[in-house]
Amino acid sequence: MQKLSFASGSKLAKPTDKVLIFLMLSPAVVLLVAGSLYPLIWIFRYMFYTFDGMRPPRFVGMENFIRIFTRDPWFWSSVRNTFVYAGGKLLVTIPLAFLLAVILNKKMLGRGFFRAFFFMPTIVSVSVMSLIFYFIFNTYNGILNQLLIRFSIIPSPIEWLGVQYAMFSAIVIAIWGAIGNYMVYFLAGLQSIPRELYESAELDGASESQTLMRITIPMMGPVLQVVIMLAILVSLRGYESILVLTGGGPSARTEVVYLYIFRQFFPMAEAGAFISQFGYGSAVAFVTSVIIGLITIFYLWWSRRMNEVY
């Protein structure tokens, strides 16, 4: 795989070129500064403040961080929930997507249709579909319980969005939306493996499982490493689906950390006081980013051997 790099220009830019370079880059630079850098700087500043958006901000030093580390069990429980959510999603999605990619990489009847079907959930709106799932998972008039009861799989309705199963349901939706995405990544990876390897394995009389274990998986190492890193980042950050499905409830059972950040910005009515905490939210967002950064670094260290194709 090629490293991220940019071809350097052929000659030194001429004066008119310099003006044009500046003009042509300016939209991107303005959007970068206003849309991405400015909010970051804002957060770096206000994480040391108390600020509710109405009264003037008040400098409090490290107080927000002290609160995170000593007096905010909700934050840490949301971090735990995030690990359960992301872990559950990844443990099912990655192997399943890989299996689908291996199956659908061979010539078979209906291959194009199956690929199109599995990728389809990534096309439709996460929020709208979470609302549909909310409807499907409904305890009494939801179609899921009704079907399960009709086929005598369960005796009485299950509270899919209740305390016990809400996280499970949220994970199912996340898996539903993610399989096709990773299947396509893996399909592209599989197609980059040289045909000759498979041909010589066939000549040597290798079985299908041997080919999979000895050729496909090792050759996919670098792709797997990058894709799993992306998957970890995306699943740790996901909250839109849960926001619509349960709003973090019941009893904060499905409150993931980015939803917790969202609720510092936009507290929900059921939480009682309707006061935004921009300062504290900034500190929480900062600590969360550091945690996720550490996880990424740990993962890259742990998975470093995957990058060596042998």
Partner: protein
């Protein structure tokens, strides 16, 4: 041996079919539900409508304001798509072909913002910024933020594609007296349309399906809502319990156009996902 192979094949197909049902069912259920009466939807228990009702769509369209939401979504989507393609193609071209002061810093900043995500709290400074610019009452606030937050990946994608275009073409045009912008417009742009199609498609999908940003920015302005915001708000609406059929009709209005785009361009969607990453 042969019968074993057939069993494996049959099991594979059964597995694929079961998963296909799992992926397609929720979408199909929503669309079919849009043709049921409200009583049938509320009671549940059916997949196909007992009697097909066609009044949900016009009712959602006029009474639940979905005509307005659709218009807002289309407007936002079209300009986010055009903006993304313009910004990414210009910057991607310049970045790929030219060296200039501060290039490393710029690329580093773009890469950093792609991997760093601090969550919804950034919506506060962005909202205040739009307020100062006087854009908080306009869909342009949403358009600009959507273009800004997705431009990083697009610029990388385009710049890689431009790097594959032979430099001799630029040089020939340069000798003929074309300036940088003319080279971009007459030489590069026509040659990179495949990747711009991908960038546009992904920008369209992102804008069409985005929820948190438009829901915050249209909080006090119902007339600015997009489809996703409109559909979800029916869940929290005062008469929510009575309007499941409208919600499903609205959901279908939000889903079906994207599905049509997908049927037309599913190859581009799938290849676009990996165009930048894997085929380095």
């Amino acid at each position: 041996m042969n019968s074993k192979r057939i069993t494996i094949r049959l099991m594979t197909y059964f597995f694929l079919l079961a998963l296909a049902v799992f992926t397609v069912f929720p979408v199909l259920y929503a669309v079919l539900g849009a043709f049921k009466t409200n009583a049938e939807v509320t009671l549940g228990g059916t997949i196909l409508p007992q009697t097909w009702i066609f009044t949900n769509f016009p009712e959602a369209w006029t009474n639940a304001n979905f005509a307005r939401y659709t218009l807002n979504t289309l407007y936002t989507c079209v300009f986010t798509t055009i903006g993304s393609v313009l910004v990414a193609s210009m910057s991607g071209f310049v970045v790929s072909r030219k060296t200039f002061w501060g290039k490393k810093v710029l690329m580093g900043a773009i890469l950093a913002t792609m991997f760093l995500s601090v969550g919804a709290i950034t919506l506060r400074p962005l909202y205040v910024l739009m307020l100062r610019l006087g854009l908080h009452r306009s869909l342009w606030s949403i358009i600009l933020i959507q273009v800004a937050t997705s431009q990083g990946a697009n610029i990388f994608l385009v710049s890689r594609f431009v790097s594959a275009v032979p430099k001799e073409l630029d040089e020939a045009a340069h000798i003929d007296g074309a300036n940088l912008f003319q080279i971009y417009r007459m030489i590069i742009l026509p040659l990179i349309t495949p990747i711009l199609g991908v960038v546009g498609l992904f920008a369209f999908r992102y804008s069409w399906n985005d929820y948190v940003l438009p829901s915050i920015f249209t909080m006090t302005r119902e007339s600015m809502r997009t489809l996703t915001v409109g559909v979800v708000s029916l869940r929290y609406g005062e008469s929510a319990a009575a309007q499941w059929n409208l919600m499903l009709a609205g959901a279908s209005i939000a889903i079906i156009p994207m599905l049509i785009v997908y049927v037309i361009a599913n190859k581009q969607f799938m290849s676009g996902l990996t165009a930048g990453a894997v085929k380095g």
